[in-house]
């Protein structure tokens, strides 16, 4: 299906998100506030969630091996869901390590039973493949729930990090649209989408700063992340409406600039190019970018700018 950029809608846009925070802060319950969630309970922590909130999951997948996950995500229940919650990302990596060592023991397992460096590589590759498959092929929101690990810097300041082994703790951030850190402040739970000294967080599409998480009760639906996602979709539509004309103008400016710069072959064409470049209608960073192209071409030709005459001349001859 071919869509014109300005005709695109984002109603079916899916997001990926990291949720992390201390034990008991309500990460899994919050993850289940995303639209139509299925929970993959790597951590066997579903029993810790209140029964009324547990029911918000369309299904809970409990498992003994990673192979079971691969089978279960193809089930009709998962097909009908909009969100897959990985609880926790750290335990998911542990399952992947077990899978890597069983599936290729000669390469991925050391003699002492620990995972080898190649095994870590296999885990990382599968982590990336699985995430991409769920988000892009199955077209689901993906939420990674992580516990935190508290570190102290040299000044004694506390820093919160994702509890996870191997490279996954880093690579998980890049494809994620949002990284929310959940914290109790007094009696209120808040989620942060902007980074602070104590923790890293990530926001986009206008979802930044921090938000109070509503306390759940009989008449308060658990739909916080559904509303966040809806807000992000509305913001994307606005951003797109604003950005597309700018990008079109930018592309046109860069194309024109490239054409002018390509036509510079000597002093005359360089001088003729200056007013042509000035007359380009610029957008975003096109002015600076064309300036860089122009300067590079001038250097290439060895031309010299005479600041008195305000024009290019051949470089002065050295005696």
């Amino acid at each position: 299906m071919i869509n014109e950029p300005n005709e695109m809608t984002f109603d079916s846009k899916k997001f990926s998100m990291i949720l992390y925070g201390s034990p008991g802060v309500g990460k899994t319950t919050l993850a289940l506030s995303a639209p139509d969630p299925v929970l993959i309970d790597f951590d066997r922590g579903i029993s810790r969630i209140k029964a009324e909130h547990r029911r918000l999951a369309k299904a809970v997948i409990t498992l003994d091996t990673y192979e079971e996950v691969l089978k279960d995500i193809e089930s009709p229940v998962v097909a009908a869901a909009q969100t897959i919650v990985i609880d926790t990302g750290g335990s998911f990596v542990t399952f992947l390590q077990d899978w890597a060592m069983r599936s290729n023991p000669s390469v991925n397992r050391q003699k002492n039973g620990a995972i080898s460096l190649k095994g870590f590589g296999a885990v990382k590759s599968e982590f990336i493949r699985f995430t991409g498959y769920v988000k892009d092929v199955l077209n689901k929101n993906v939420i990674y729930v992580f516990h935190t690990e508290e570190k102290t810097d040299k000044d004694g300041n506390t820093q919160q990090r994702l509890m996870c082994e191997g490279a996954a703790k880093n690579i998980v951030w890049t494809p994620c649209d949002f990284g929310g850190y959940i914290q109790m402040i007094g009696q209120e739970r808040r989620i942060f989408f902007s980074p602070e000294q104590e923790f890293f967080a990530k926001g986009c599409h206008g979802i930044t700063g921090n938000y109070p998480i509503p306390a759940l009760g009989p008449n308060v639906p658990n739909d916080f992340l559904t509303r966040i996602f809806d807000k992000a979709k509305a913001n994307i539509a606005e951003e797109t409406a604003e950005y597309i004309p700018l990008k079109e103008k930018y592309d046109a400016a860069i194309a024109k600039g490239k054409e002018i710069v390509a036509g510079i072959t000597d002093v005359e064409t360089a001088n003729a190019a200056m007013p042509q470049i000035s007359s380009i209608e610029h957008a975003l960073t096109s002015k600076k970018e064309i300036g860089v192209m122009f300067n590079a071409r001038i250097r290439e030709l060895g031309l010299f700018f005479d600041s008195v005459l305000k024009k290019y001349t051949p470089a002065p001859k050295e005696d």
């Binding site: 191997g166 890049t174 980074p195 990530k202 990008k247 960073t285 600076k288």
Partner: protein, 224 residues
């Protein structure tokens, strides 16, 4: 007017953020920076420079893998006379390719200057952007250690680089650190809204340098 660069600010900031055991060294390095003494590239710096070059060459299409052959010629009917061998890709190619796919089409090594007045003093901010493309500033970073042994999230929160470069390019919408260990890519994005004003950082720098008795040295060596 005095020149100021993000690397000078980084060198100053590192004195306060480094481990205690290297604090003396960090101070010495900062004073060398203040004296504008050239710092020879160490192994890690050189690896970073080589990685950046590899990214740029892939992005601009000048990279070609080394063709390794023992001189054997294909004598079969469909490949008569063709030299047999294989393409050898350099170490770090996978990570560099991921970076190159993002920066392709952008302008590389963009040299910029812009004056700023802080508490009545004029400074000239100078920076060389790795890549500028369509409203986004990219900075390429290389990590010698693999991602498995590092924790990167938030690494650049306190860096003076994105505040300085946002000031140099007022029309930029985003700043992205593209960090690779030669295999994987980690991207940390900052927007103008979540970036502190560089003028505040320069004010802190001046106060601190005055407190260390080094302001005269700075104004002598960094005259623009």
């Amino acid at each position: 007017m005095f020149l100021i660069t993000q690397s000078l600010l980084s060198s100053w900031g590192y004195m306060y953020n480094c481990r205690e055991d290297v604090q003396e060294q960090a101070k010495e390095d900062f004073i060398r920076s203040l004296n504008r003494e050239p710092i020879p590239a160490n192994e890690a710096m050189q690896a970073g420079i080589d990685f950046e070059r590899l990214c740029y060459s892939i992005a601009n299409g000048t990279f070609s893998p080394e063709f390794v052959t023992d001189g054997t010629v294909n004598k079969s009917s469909y490949g008569d006379g063709e030299l047999m061998g294989y393409n050898k890709y350099p170490k770090n190619y996978d990570g560099a390719k991921k970076v190159a796919d993002i920066i392709r089409g952008g302008q590389i090594q963009v040299n910029l200057r812009r004056p700023i007045t802080v508490d009545g003093t004029r400074f000239l901010i100078h920076g060389v952007l790795d890549v500028l493309k369509a409203g986004v500033i990219y900075d390429v970073k290389y990590k010698v250690m693999s991602f498995g042994s590092l924790y990167l999230a938030g690494s650049y929160l306190d860096s003076p680089q994105h505040p300085a470069y946002f000031y140099l390019v007022p029309e930029a919408r985003e700043f992205q650190y593209l960090v690779s260990d030669g295999t994987d890519l980690y991207v940390e994005t900052y927007t103008r809204e979540n970036t502190p004003y560089i003028g505040d950082l320069i004010a802190e720098f001046v106060t601190s340098v005055k407190g260390m008795g080094l302001y005269e040295l700075y104004t002598e060596k960094w005259l623009a």
